[in-house]
Amino acid sequence: MIPATVLFWALAVGAVAGGVAVFAVGSMARATFALLASFLCVGGELLVLDLDYLGVLVVLMMIMEMLVMAVFMVMFMMNPAGLMPMSMVHNRWGALGISGAVFAALAAGIVLTPWPHRAGRPPRDPTRALGLAIMGPKMPVMMGIGLAILATMIASVVLATRRGRYGDAE
């Protein structure tokens, strides 16, 4: 097997390269998928760190999110294949300055933070431990709220649309 360190660095470079590509490519569609590739690399990093559930969840959510974003970003704007080259960059120098500063601050944080040493061992089932750590004894409440939010979203959309795109809502 490939050593985890090699994998980690490969994915790290991939994630950053994907991020850079977002601003280097000439079409919104390509930018969307460059961003998706970057996020998938981040999901891969979590898998390398043995955070199975979080890693897979990042992969799952990012695919869905980016695709939905593709719809909203490009909408039904039918110049397929990005015929008109367009840049994803606005306010080039200001953006470069801000992002450079943020990157430097975060990177400095990594180096300067006194990272704790591992105490104890990883739990047998990290997914369960994660759930307990986040929600603790409020698990059923949280799940109930999750469902309620979903139901609210669907219901409000149904109530808000007078008719569907293809005629009267049934």
């Binding site: 909408m75 039904f76 110049n79 005629g167």
Partner: protein, 363 residues
């Protein structure tokens, strides 16, 4: 012989045909479809996927140009066969026999591939408007985009969004589509905003489904039922039910050959009528298929009625007009069905538009 050549020869044993229906060529098309079924060469749904383009009948100039444009986009290995509308079953079989050696001729097909690859596809210059008759390779109308490609313009959509407007032709070379019909649609998203219907004529008039006076009663009834089954096959195909569409075509051919089993045709009609899913999907579409099923059944019943004079068969008499009410598009003389078509396509989604078109029978 290389692996690729071997594979190419192996593939040539099962051609992937695409049948181009031409006005006036119904007789030929029916013969071709029957022969394809006998051989098990199932037609493909997209012209790009075919390796044998079978043109059934003599297209007029405009339709011929549309067929040529589609042919230009078919990748090699490929073969095109132009069949005359009077082609007999034997001629059709001979033509289909001739396909396989052409497709299996690897060196010749390589040369063909090199030749087509040298030409840009789709042809960018001269017929920018008509170059994608199959509806593929769409673009806009305004020139001036990069590479000479037209960019779409925008207009307010009925949902209050500002969406790109595309002008694309539907047909005339499409599967499960009336012969020679071209609908120039304006699209926003997948919703048709306007539709101009145009019937590209063939070089000869369509007489195949006509029942001339003096035809024996039984033969007349068979021809009428077959005509309805032909329309049903098209509708079922457009509705995405290929197995049933093939069944309708088989019953059509059996009726024409007087080799049909009445009980089976009736069972077919019953089971299609019973399909709740099909009814659900056909809601909002002229319910012609139900009328056609009625027609088939009543015509079959006529085969048993003794002594009655064969009534000349007109659309207005029974079926679609008498029953449906809502499906006025299928009524009257030849043609008006298509004329009214344009309005009924406005505001519907593309898949539904194809269903609506398939529920019009020009006869």
């Amino acid at each position: 012989m290389g692996v690729r050549a071997r594979l190419a020869r192996y593939a040539a044993g099962l051609p992937a045909p695409f049948v181009v229906a031409v006005p006036g060529g119904a007789r030929c098309r029916v013969a071709v479809e029957a022969e394809l079924r006998r051989r098990g060469w199932t037609p493909v749904a997209d012209p790009v996927a075919c390796d044998a383009l079978l043109v059934c009948g003599e297209p007029g100039d405009e339709l011929a140009a549309a067929v040529d444009a589609v042919w230009a986009g078919v990748p090699a290995p490929r073969v095109r066969v132009d069949l005359p509308s009077r082609a007999s079953a034997r001629e059709v079989a001979a033509a289909l026999d001739g396909l396989v050696p052409v497709l299996a001729d690897v060196p010749a097909q390589r040369a063909e591939a090199a030749r087509t690859a040298a030409k840009p596809w789709p042809p960018p210059a001269e017929h920018a408007e008509h170059d994608d008759e199959s509806g593929h390779g769409g673009g806009g109308m305004e020139m001036g985009g990069p590479g000479g490609v037209a960019l779409a313009s925008r207009a307010p959509d009925r949902d209050g969004l500002k969406l790109d407007v595309l002008h694309v032709p539907l047909g005339p070379v499409l599967a499960w589509w009336p012969a020679g019909l071209r609908v120039a649609v304006t699209l926003q998203g997948d919703v048709v905003q306007s539709a101009d219907v145009e019937l590209l004529p063939g070089a000869v008039a369509e007489t195949f489904w006509d029942v001339p006076a003096g035809t024996p009663r039984r033969a007349a009834a068979r021809r009428r039922a077959a005509a309805r089954l032909d329309a049903l096959a098209r509708f079922l195909g457009a509705a995405g039910w290929p197995a049933r569409a093939a069944e309708a075509a088989r019953h059509r051919d059996d009726l024409l050959a007087d080799a049909f089993r009445e009980a089976r045709v009736r069972r077919f009609a019953r089971s299609v009528r019973r399909s709740r899913t099909l009814r659900w999907m056909a809601r909002g579409v002229p319910p012609s298929y139900l009328a056609w099923l009625d027609d088939v059944e009543t015509t079959l019943a006529e085969l048993h009625e003794p002594g009655e004079d064969p009534a000349a068969w007109r659309n207005g008499e029974r079926g679609s007009c008498a029953r449906g009410g809502r499906d006025a598009a299928g009524c009257g003389e030849r043609g008006p069905g298509f004329r009214e078509l344009g309005e009924s396509l406005v505001g519907v989604e593309l898949g539904t538009a194809r269903l609506i078109v398939a529920s019009v029978d020009e006869r």
